[in-house]
């Protein structure tokens, strides 16, 4: 007997399963490689003290960064959406931008400003500063969509703004914060740039060392499998926690037109909040930008304008196409999870997340392996790179799209069906437009992350095509920091595009809500 989802929505189920298979492709490669020399060899690679050591180090770093990112992200989102923080619109855009800073650039600039930085705290600092927007973005979206009535009730029951924040607002955004935290955790697990710069001996460093030193892909694949299992465990844990939290995460229901929330006056806390926000931005954006400016004035600073322009265009193009495809992939998965919960849809969700913990080099090699076998004609052509981005960053899109669809009242879909529109048309005309803020967040996250992606880009880009990230790497690799600076700077500017677009999306949806309903 078919699962319920398959019976009630066959087309979306098939699409979701196809996406899941594509997303799980790298895992297939991993298993093939891990078992290259037989199970015994694989176990031998696995069963070492060092494996456990790496695992504990990675897990520790991941836990610390995720926790602090959740705190920072939620606070930043609340300040921007609900408080009377001066200049909160500008802060709203700026808070998003660190997402565009590759962790290797963040790490590099911090080291060059503060040479003693290394190890756990160095990696922790850099990764926190570049990944907190993964929490900030969905939480800000959830806060905007949540029903302010609950907060008002709490205030009227004599709870102060702080207690209201803790008791009500926090519970409302818990699913979004958890979903963002999951993305942070997967990013940290898969990050190589920051941990290698800070010489923190984490899992990915072990994997890279294995490639660089021995060119033996089996131990790297075995370690990769462990990383995937860790990712699966975290994903399942997040889903359990989210399931419980969902009961509290009341987003607006009914007519869908929520009122503008009241602004909470910060009063005495205002200077502190302002100072804190400025400090966060200074660390996350200021230090890298300052460092880049210093590089720019350095000796090797000669801007090759045509190369810069073509790299900028390539970056925008491949990242935008990647974001588009990732969102297209994420739509059936998001619908399946949000509307047809079943064992199958949970499996599809898991498959779309599992590969995200792999470091770029492993994921890149997996796509090299699969691409050169399955689509030899497209190997090292643009479509393959775009496909790679869509698969690698699928979780970013899935998390946001799922939240967007879950926030769109299912009743409106039923109304549409009763008006004679089939499932497909209903999704196009009702579900997706309603979920558009979530879809936009997903596209923006993928765009920003793809724009800075390096290892897979190096392997899969069409020969002769360069992106800002590859040019940046080329320059820093030979120590030409002055030449690297313009690429890094443009990368941040490019990242501002989706940030500003998102700001507009949110403003529009909150304007729509401010007219005052009943």
């Amino acid at each position: 007997m078919l699962p319920e989802a398959a019976r009630s929505a066959p087309a979306i189920t098939i699409a979701g399963v196809v996406v899941a298979i594509a997303a799980a492709g790298p895992l297939g490669y991993l298993i093939v490689r891990a078992l290259d020399g037989g199970v015994a060899v694989a176990l031998q690679h696995l069963w070492r003290d060092r494996t456990l050591e790496l695992l504990l180090r990675s897990a520790g770093l991941t836990a610390a960064v995720t926790l602090v990112c959740i705190i920072l992200g939620v606070l930043a989102a609340w300040l921007v959406v609900r408080s009377d923080l001066p200049g909160r619109r500008v802060f709203g855009v700026l808070f998003m931008l660190p997402l565009a800073i590759p962790s290797y650039v963040g790490g590099f600039t911090w080291i060059s400003e503060w040479p003693g930085l290394a190890g756990f705290w160095g990696a922790f600092l850099v990764l926190t500063l570049v990944t907190y927007p993964y929490v900030y973005l969905p939480v800000a979206a959830a806060l905007r969509a949540s029903d302010p009535a609950l907060e008002e009730v709490s205030r009227s029951l004599g709870k102060g703004s702080l207690r209201t924040f803790l008791l009500v607002s926090l519970r409302q955004v818990r699913p979004a914060a958890l979903a963002g935290g999951l993305l942070v955790a997967l990013y940290v697990l898969s990050d190589f740039g920051a941990v290698s710069l800070m010489r923190y001996d984490a899992f990915t460093l072990g994997i890279y060392t294995s490639y660089r030193a021995s060119f033996d892909r089996t131990p790297a694949a075995v370690l990769g499998c462990v990383l995937v299992l860790l990712a699966v465990a975290i994903t399942v844990g997040e889903r359990r926690a989210r399931g419980k939290a969902a009961a509290f995460g009341l987003t607006r229901v009914g007519s869908g037109a929520a009122r503008e929330a009241m602004t909470v006056p910060l009063r005495r806390m205002r200077p502190i909040a302002l100072l804190g926000s400025a400090a966060l931005l200074l660390a996350a954006l200021g230090v890298p930008v300052f460092s880049l400016l210093r590089w720019l004035t350095g000796a090797s600073a000669a801007i090759d304008v045509p190369v810069l322009l073509s790299a900028t265009w390539s970056t925008v193009e491949v990242s935008a196409l990647g974001a588009l495809l990732a969102v297209l992939f994420a739509l059936p998965v998001g619908v399946l999870i949000a509307r047809h919960p079943s064992r199958l849809s949970r499996g599809v969700e898991l498959a779309s997340y599992a590969g995200h913990a792999l470091p770029g080099i492993t994921a890149g090699l997996a796509l090299v392996f699969l691409g050169s076998r399955v689509f030899p004609g497209l190997y090292q052509e643009l479509p393959m790179l775009v496909f790679a981005y869509a698969v690698l960053f699928l979780p970013l899109a899935v998390a946001a799209v799922r939240n967007g669809i879950a926030a769109a009242p299912a009743r409106l879909e039923e109304v549409s069906r009763s008006l004679g529109k089939g499932r497909f048309e209903t999704r196009l005309r009702v579900t997706f437009p309603l979920a558009s803020p979530g879809i936009a967040v997903g596209a923006a996250l993928v765009f920003l992350t793809a724009a800075k992606e390096l290892p897979a880009t190096l392997m899969l880009r069409p020969t002769g095509t360069s992106t800002l990230a590859t040019e940046l790497w080329q320059a820093t690799d030979v120590g030409a920091f002055g030449a690297a600076a313009p690429y890094a700077a443009v990368l941040i500017v490019v990242a501002a595009i989706p940030a500003v677009v998102l700001g507009n999306v949110f403003r529009k949806s909150s304007d729509a809500g401010s007219g005052g309903g009943r």
Binding site: R50, F108, I111, S112, P115, A118, S196, L197, R199, D201, T209, Y211, R212, A213, S214, F215, D216, R217, A299, S300, E317, A320, L321, L324, I361, G364, L365, V368, F369, S372, R373, P376, Y379, Q380, E381, L382, P383, V386, P455, L458, M459, P462, T463, G464, T470, Q474, A475, D477, V478, G479, A480, A483
Partner: protein, 338 residues
């Protein structure tokens, strides 16, 4: 319908602009494809000249040497005709996997025995020497270390810069192992660590740290010094180089090299490319532009004041041996200096 269309016109235009390259995507199957682990900034001009020399299109992909070697190993049919590597380790990996074709004896004979693979599967194109960079304001010439063990002296506590994540550091440690034996190497590394060396991300940062006097000594490759001189002028550069010489790991010579991919349908062109990289004009390019040592006898730099390579004593160590590299990494992990 029409209104809908016109309102969406800008988005449709953008979509078409984005998708155009997708539709127009097509590879040039007649070109010689080079996977280069050496950076464009270093060899881009030279490979441009190669295109003219061969009289055919040359497509170059740049990436990290190790990553590209792994990529070649994963590809069903290797896309590249030629692999140009920053170090011999990556070439050794491809040799071991049987991915490299044997080069003609005539080409191999252009260079010294120590600059080619034993089985003739790759040949070095340029070489670099490990040197000790020093700050002449802190260190006088007679105080300079004359061998490996001098670095362990108390006077260098906290004053030696090194780049633990760099391939050249690993090659150096391999040399330490081969010259001192496993136990000797472990002993040396433990003592080196106890002397509180300062870790840097790469050779450039070490060089600049020595230049500014942050550390007194730095373990780097020679050309970083010459490139700084070329960029900033000798009068503005403080840091100086010390060649240790002798059968000492500090005097190690590393190479960059090239190999032809086995089964390439452009093997003939690829071999001509190898020959070109060993030609006098290409060797002159390395000597002048990248400040590396030419591997061909009789070529000297017109721009940089490089000591003669043949005049530098160096230990005879096979850096392309993979098993050796694995053991080096295991040792570094054990000591905690990786």
């Amino acid at each position: 319908m029409n209104r809908f269309f016109f309102r969406r016109l800008p988005s449709i235009g953008l979509a078409v602009a984005l998708l155009f390259p997708l539709l127009a995507a097509c590879g040039n199957s007649d070109a010689l494809v080079i996977y280069s682990g050496r950076q464009q900034a270093l060899v881009g001009d030279l490979l441009g000249k190669l295109e003219k020399e061969l009289g055919m299109d040359v497509e170059v992909r740049y990436g990290g040497s190790a990553e590209m070697a792994a990529q070649l190993l994963e590809e069903k049919e290797p896309e590249a005709d030629l692999f140009y590597s920053q170090d011999s380790g990556a070439l050794g990996a491809l040799t071991e996997a049987g991915k490299l074709a044997t080069l003609p004896r005539d080409d191999l004979d252009i260079v010294d025995k120590r600059f080619q693979a034993d089985d003739g599967s790759w040949v070095a194109t340029s070489a670099r020497a490990r040197v000790v960079a020093y700050d002449p304001k802190q260190v006088s010439e007679q105080d300079l270390p004359s061998d490996l063990d001098d670095l362990l002296d108390e006077k260098w506590r906290g004053k030696v810069g090194y780049a633990p994540s760099n391939g050249s550091w690993q090659a150096f440690v391999t040399a330490v192992r081969q010259l001192k034996g496993e136990d000797g190497a472990r002993d040396w590394l433990v003592k080196f660590k106890q002397n509180n060396p300062q870790a840097y991300e790469n050779n450039v940062l070490i060089r600049d740290a020595v230049d500014k006097g942050e550390v007194a000594l730095g373990l780097i490759n020679h050309y970083y010094y010459h490139r700084k001189i070329a960029e900033e002028g000798a009068e503005n550069v403080n840091v100086k180089l010390h060649y240790v010489g002798g059968n000492d790991p500090l005097a190690l010579i590393n190479v960059a090299g090239v190999g032809v991919i086995k089964g390439s349908d452009k093997a003939e062109a690829a071999q001509r490319a190898v020959r070109y990289l060993l030609s006098e004009s290409a060797q002159q390019y390395f000597a002048d532009e990248t400040a590396e040592y030419p591997v061909r006898e009789g070529v000297t730099s017109t721009k940089h004041d490089l000591p003669k390579l043949s005049g530098i004593e160096s230990p005879d160590i096979d850096l392309s041996s993979l098993s050796s590299l694995k053991e080096t990494l295991a040792l570094l992990q054990e000591v905690g200096l990786s």
